[in-house]
């Protein structure tokens, strides 16, 4: 038997070891590529999501400026119409009587500014805690405060400068309040009511009122306070009151 030279054995071992390292390196590379591909698909989604969300935010902002412009236009047109009606009323008593009737109806619909004694209720978000969105002021909270104020003898109510009408509705995702056709409103909220000040103050001060809000005030530090005032002002309603389906019988 011819024994292989010790040097040949060593070089074969070395070759095998080098091969193992190359294999390891190739495996690591392949793994790296696979990982990178996987990450690319996963991380590009958030990347696209960011771009999509930014596009959505821009769309919301554009729609909000259109919304404000329309409401300003509606307020201005109502003012111009009122001026032209006043001129016509000077020429005819019948027109004047009609105009007085409509003025009362407009006032009760919130279509004219109002001032008088009342209360201001301030609401603000609390600190995030156990309940997912319980620390945020939601549309139901605003709805509850508005209902309480009407129960206390409010004759007119406005939320963050948006007057409540006889057909007003409240909606919106958590932390957002949408009233009628207006822009979404966010905390802090200020609900102003003109009417029976002492009765409204009494109801707001009653621990049995606004139970849900008071519980969340304790649990999440939600802000809830009110203040009476001898003279408050409410703006006119600046959205639509058209009835397209309900007709007088």
């Amino acid at each position: 038997m011819v024994q292989p030279a010790p040097g040949i054995i060593r070089s074969q071992v070395n070759l095998r070891r080098v091969g193992a390292y190359v294999l390891l390196a190739l495996t690591a590379l392949a793994f790296g590529f696979l990982l990178a591909t996987q990450l690319r698909t996963q991380l590009l989604v958030p990347g696209n999501r960011v771009a999509r969300t930014e596009a959505l935010v821009r769309t919301v902002q554009d729609l909000e400026s259109t919304n404000s412009a329309y409401r300003a236009q509606i307020a201005s047109l109502r003012g111009q119409i009122d001026g032209l009606e006043a001129q016509a009323a000077q020429r005819s008593e019948a027109t004047q009587r009609l105009r007085d009737d409509v003025a009362t109806l407009r006032a009760h619909a919130g279509l004219t500014p109002m001032r008088g004694p009342g209360v201001t209720v301030d609401l603000g978000n609390g600190r995030p805690g156990a309940g997912a969105t319980d620390y945020l002021v939601n549309f139901q909270d605003i709805q509850d405060v508005v209902n309480l104020l009407f129960a206390g003898g409010a004759e007119g109510v406005a939320v963050n400068g948006r007057r409540i009408s006889p057909m007003s509705s409240f909606s919106g995702p958590a932390g957002t309040v949408v009233i009628d056709q207006g822009n979404p409103l966010y905390a802090p909220f200020q609900v102003v009511a003109v009417g029976n000040r002492s009765q409204m103050e009494q109801l707001l001060g009653d621990a049995a009122s606004l139970g849900g809000l008071r519980n969340r005030q304790r649990a999440f530090g939600l802000a809830l306070s009110f203040q009476g005032s001898p003279d408050l002002s409410l703006p006119a309603y600046d959205s639509t009151l058209e009835s397209s389906f309900a007709q007088p019988s």
Partner: protein, 220 residues
């Protein structure tokens, strides 16, 4: 054996490079997400966009109507003014619940011991879905209507009402039916509810009216 450290270095190098790459990409995308979202997710934004489109359409139509009214007033005499004032008075009496009304809508019936808050939420749901006139057990409702507890019964603007509850709403029939369907499904999951159903009507009549109270405190 000299080749061993360099191969190890290569493997370590590749892995380190990969780690750095992953870390950078991850941190970057996280920062972008936090900077641009501002706490509002895209589903919420999509809902807001939908609402704003519908709101802006309604406001645009209203602005166009008011614009035509103004132009007619500019060119017309007192007859035009009187006609417009009469039309507006009629419209406002409907909005303020002062006259009986009819039109397409839904009737939701619920047999359950509902609370004033449940009823207020149900009424608001229908308003959000475009209800133009509403009545609860034949009591006409506007935003200022007061629904509160009164012993075992519920007091609606000073009148006691008892369940089972009937909510009548006149407005866009498609949207109202959608809201009524969703609402009755949710109510049926409520253990207190014995029965919750709705029906659509092509010409629903709401006869009850609200009495207008003169202002005591507010002035213009």
């Amino acid at each position: 054996m000299r080749s061993r450290p360099s191969l190890n270095a290569l493997v370590v190098g590749i892995l380190t490079g990969l780690l750095a790459f992953v870390a950078v990409v991850q941190v970057r995308s996280q920062a972008e997400v936090e900077r641009s979202l501002g706490g509002v997710d895209s589903t919420t934004l999509a809902f807001l966009i939908d609402d704003l489109h519908r709101a802006n359409d309604a406001l645009g139509a209203d602005a166009a109507t008011l614009s035509m009214r103004r132009d007619a007033l500019r060119g017309g005499g007192n007859q035009v003014v009187d006609a417009q004032l009469n039309a507006e008075a009629s419209q406002l009496r409907v909005a303020e619940g002062l006259v009986p009304v009819h039109g397409p809508g839904v009737v939701v019936t619920v047999d359950a011991p509902l609370t004033p808050l449940d009823l207020q939420d149900a009424v608001d749901n229908l308003r959000v879905a475009g209800a133009e006139a509403l009545a609860l057990n034949d009591r006409r409702l506007v935003t200022s209507s007061v629904i509160k507890a009164s012993g075992d019964a519920i007091d609606v603007d000073g009148a006691q009402v008892h369940g089972p509850w009937t909510l009548s709403a006149i407005g866009d029939p498609t949207r109202l039916a959608g809201a009524a369907d969703q609402m009755t499904r949710a109510l049926r999951d409520d253990p207190r509810v014995r029965r919750a159903a709705y029906r659509s009507e092509s010409d629903l009549v709401i006869r009850s009216t609200v009495v207008q109270r003169p202002f005591v405190y507010g002035s213009s």
